[in-house]
């Protein structure tokens, strides 16, 4: 009898129980306390910006990361070297530095480059010259997160490509398939399936790192919370609410990733 209880208690995911308890207490307090309701309302306005920054950056970095990952696993040495150079460079920088760099060095440089490219049209008066401020800080933030996360995602794709058994490629070649047919029809589908959980984890990570865009004044959850707390001195309550928003997103997504991992694991054993 005692053992049964112990076994039942041992199977409970206590971390989750604690987290849900914390969530319930937070919501309860918020409903009971008028000032919490106000803070909730204020911070919620940043939710859309946080999600937009995260989703757009993630989608773009998936494409760029796939291209870099394929280049990294390519047979062509120049492609491999260029991709490795980029990945090592970007992974060696703090995300915050990448953000500042793109915002204050990259954006003016991009404007200059576009102006040089379009100079005939600009001279004719057919279009206005670009200026740094043509790119909003939200755009620059998305660009920076994309360039940064593409490096991590490229490494995930490369690991996925390398995890596919060499025999699969040989069998494709032996049937007369070309290198690109073997890559896109045989290797990539298996590689992506193998790294699906790792890719999903990067989305959780990018949601958290999207808070960095607050340093550029982009009105995301963190920035709104920061400004609100500074003007009302309600630091405790405000950051509680900010943390609550992030945890709702990240914990639920992490649980989806776990479910996905379990499902893929079951399929692999079938």
């Amino acid at each position: 009898m005692k053992n049964k209880v112990a076994a039942a208690l041992g199977g409970v995911p206590w971390w989750l129980v604690l987290l849900i308890g914390l969530g319930v207490i937070s919501v309860g307090t918020a409903l009971a306390d008028a000032s919490y309701r106000v803070i909730f309302g204020a911070v919620a306005k940043g939710f859309g910006v946080t999600m937009t920054v995260a989703v757009v950056s993630y989608a773009a970095s998936l494409f760029l990361g796939l291209a870099l990952g394929l280049a990294r696993a390519s047979r062509l040495r120049p492609l491999r070297e260029a991709s490795t150079f980029y990945i090592e460079l970007v992974r060696g920088l703090p995300m915050l530095v990448i953000l500042y760099y793109i915002a204050f060095v990259g954006a003016p440089a991009l404007a200059g480059a576009l102006n040089a490219l379009m100079s005939p049209l600009i001279r004719l008066g057919a279009m206005e010259p670009f200026q740094s401020r043509s790119f909003s800080f939200a755009t620059r933030a998305v660009l920076a997160l994309t360039l940064g996360y593409a490096a991590f995602i490229a490494e995930i794709f490369r690991a996925g490509i390398e995890s596919v058994d060499r025999g699969q490629v040989e069998a494709a070649y032996a049937l007369g398939m070309s290198h690109s047919q073997a890559t896109f029809r045989i290797v990539l589908p298996q590689a992506v399936r193998n790294v699906l959980p790792a890719l999903a984890n990067e989305f959780v990570a990018i949601i958290k790192d999207s808070a960095l865009v607050s340093v550029l004044g982009v009105q995301d959850i963190t920035q709104i919370g920061k400004v609100y707390a500074a003007s009302t001195f309600k630091f405790f309550e405000t950051y509680n609410v900010v943390a609550f928003f992030y945890l709702c997103l990240t914990v639920s997504l992490s649980m989806l990733v776990r479910a996905l991992e379990r499902r893929l694991g079951r399929e692999a054993r079938r």
Binding site: G167, E170, A171, A174, G176, Q190, A268
Partner: protein, 253 residues
């Protein structure tokens, strides 16, 4: 008429860190191999591990590139710099020791994919032809299964059907039964014997004596990258001339 597969002075070395090489050591996997396989002939290649028999087979459809020497399949050079790899690989299908079925595709898709991609066969026709081939190897009830849901013997039979889907003129078998449990070996050998009876040109790396006696026209014994001795299965197995062949036959019988 000249032979269908012609191999002349094939040399292939693996430097470290290649197959089984110690640092700095160069292994001559193929050390001047010359071999002809006629149309419709079934040649069994035997030899101790590391003798170069798999390398020889893989060189025939250029999964391995030779250091020197030449190979032709029919009129097509395999070893020329600008060889038509697609054509060579359509002509010589390959069956692997570890099956190498595409893990993410159903058995039917495994067989129909290459005809669709490489030959641009319409999807419906590729499907029908694949189903017919799978029926022929006794897998008509497994079309929608994934490879991992099949036994080893069933997977290897599906792999043979996949190779046949490109209507090859020759088939290369690289230890097709070595990864199989004993009770599954026969079902694969039966399919292979059937193909041999129908006149398929075959090069088989295998130590299956039963298959050798039932289907092989010639047995080639290789050791250390060279062909030591060749002849009819009966002669090689019962009265080998060379000392090394005798030693080897004694060990596998």
């Amino acid at each position: 008429m000249s032979a269908f597969i012609r191999i002349r002075d094939a040399v292939k070395t693996f430097g470290s860190p290649g197959k089984g090489a110690r640092p700095g050591e160069v292994v001559r996997a193929l050390d001047g191999v010359t071999l002809d396989v006629d149309r419709g002939e079934v040649v069994l290649v035997i030899g101790p591990s590391g003798s170069g028999k798999s390398t020889l087979l893989r060189a025939v459809n250029r999964l391995e590139r030779l250091d020197s020497g030449e190979i032709w399949i029919g009129e097509d050079s395999v070893t020329a710099r600008r060889a038509d790899l697609r054509r060579i690989r359509e002509d010589a299908g390959m069956v692997f020791q570890s099956f190498n079925l595409f893990a993410h595709l159903s058995i039917l898709e495994n067989v129909s994919l290459a005809p669709r991609l490489v030959r641009k066969t319409p999807a419906a026709r590729a499907r029908d032809e694949a189903a017919a081939l799978l029926d022929r190897v006794g897998l008509s009830d497994k079309l929608d299964r994934l490879p991992r849901q099949l036994s080893g013997g069933q997977q290897q039979r599906a792999a043979i059907a996949r190779a046949l889907a490109m209507s090859p003129k020759a088939l290369l078998f690289d230890e097709p039964t070595s990864a199989l449990d004993p009770e599954m070996i026969k079902e694969v050998l039966d399919v292979m014997t059937g193909l041999a009876d129908e006149g398929m040109t075959m090069m088989v790396v295998s130590h299956e004596m039963g298959f050798a006696r039932a289907a092989a026209d010639r047995v080639v014994f290789m050791d250390r990258g060279k062909i030591v001795e060749q002849g009819s299965p009966d002669r090689i197995f019962t009265e080998p001339k060379e000392e090394r062949t005798r030693d080897f036959i004694r060990h596998i019988l």
